[in-house]
Amino acid sequence: MAENLWALREKKKLSVAALANRSGLPIGLIMEYESGLRSIDPRHLGRLARALYVEETDITLQSDPRPGSGPLERQPRREAPGRVPAEGSAAGRPPSADPRPRARPPRPRAEPKPPGPARPSQIVHLENMLKRLGRSKEDLEAELGRPIAELDRVAMSELLKTVQPQIGQSDSATRRRAHLPESVDEHEARYLTAAQEGGDRLHFTLFDGSYLNGQVIGFGPFNITVRQADGTEISVNKLAVVHYRRDPAAGAPKEPSA
């Protein structure tokens, strides 16, 4: 049974703006459709249905206004303050002889505010860095000649900038690269590198049941480029590959059992 556009939209937990974005229609137009001010243009029906993942027949062409909502009215365009009406307008002021815009009076410059006290997060960050450096807070305060708590925000920021590089230097000897899954394809990369350098021919079995033979001339995380016997080069996406192995020049490849 067909439903009002606004009801479907709310059921899908979409805002008017999101629906407008998905359907490529103006927000104002969608609001007019939802309020029932106008019926949905048949050319827009398909776009709205796709954006809402419903059938076109699920949407009522003429929405009923949502209960409790007032009538939709276009807001009059606000005139910028001090704007001069166009020449020949009802206001009828004669055009100014000098068309240059009048210069604004200079805005009084506000006195710069003194920086506030250091943020608690800055202090915690500093303490953590000191801990990693094996230094005490008291040592640093003695160096600075005043307690850390008395530093303002700007001074603390400068202090953090001086301490941060020390962390980098002290950790560099022991720091290890994160073992991210994206970086863990080294075994296959090693195998392909050896095959490429050795000029080995590889035999690929692809998902569509076809085969590919040739020398590896390059590879990346997602594809392998092969030069075939006739000299043609082809890049195959790894997603299309089931398995591969070295293909000794002599002898037909044996396929794994089906």
Binding site: P181, D185, E186, H187, E188, V242, R245, P256, A258
Partner: protein
């Protein structure tokens, strides 16, 4: 093939719709679809799988059984096979079966020493099931040379 990998394929077949599109079109809780697809462990229950089966218009069972064969379980079986120096049999989505000793494995592929074809590099996304399945108590994947790390 894990449920997450299979859902990626289904998304590609639907013209590459995004996880956000799927969340908007279904009643799945926010973020659940992304977790089902991206986590290495099994995420999701029968209810959410039914929702996805309806959305992709595929049988419920076609998705459900894959939940029991997550990527992490394959990693565990590969580690167990490698440490025990025992053979493992991989059942591929093409219907082929390959058996061999695990020489190495990483995020994308498995190096299997087979009797008939020597070292065979099998792409992980082609592996549907395997035998033997490692138990939950088997050594978890990880370490400097073990490939896929513990994600969750």
């Amino acid at each position: 093939m894990s449920l997450g990998d299979y859902l990626r394929i289904l998304r590609a077949r639907r013209g590459g719709i995004t996880p956000w599109d799927i969340e908007a079109a279904t009643d799945l809780p926010k973020g659940l679809y992304r977790q089902i697809e991206q986590r290495y462990r099994a995420v999701g229950d029968d209810e959410s799988i039914q929702v996805l089966a309806d959305f992709f218009d595929v049988p419920f069972e076609e998705l459900r059984w894959r939940l029991d064969w997550p990527r992490k379980a394959l990693s565990r079986a590969l580690v167990a096979g490698r440490e025990a120096d025992a053979s493992i049999t991989l059942f591929l989505s093409t219907g082929q079966t390959v058996t061999g000793r695990v020489v190495w494995w990483d995020l994308g592929a498995v190096g299997l020493e087979t009797l008939e074809a020597g070292l065979l590099v099998v792409q992980r996304h082609a592996v549907e099931r395997w035998d033997p399945r490692a138990t939950e108590n088997s050594p978890a994947p990880g370490g400097p040379d073990a490939g896929e790390p513990e994600l969750d």
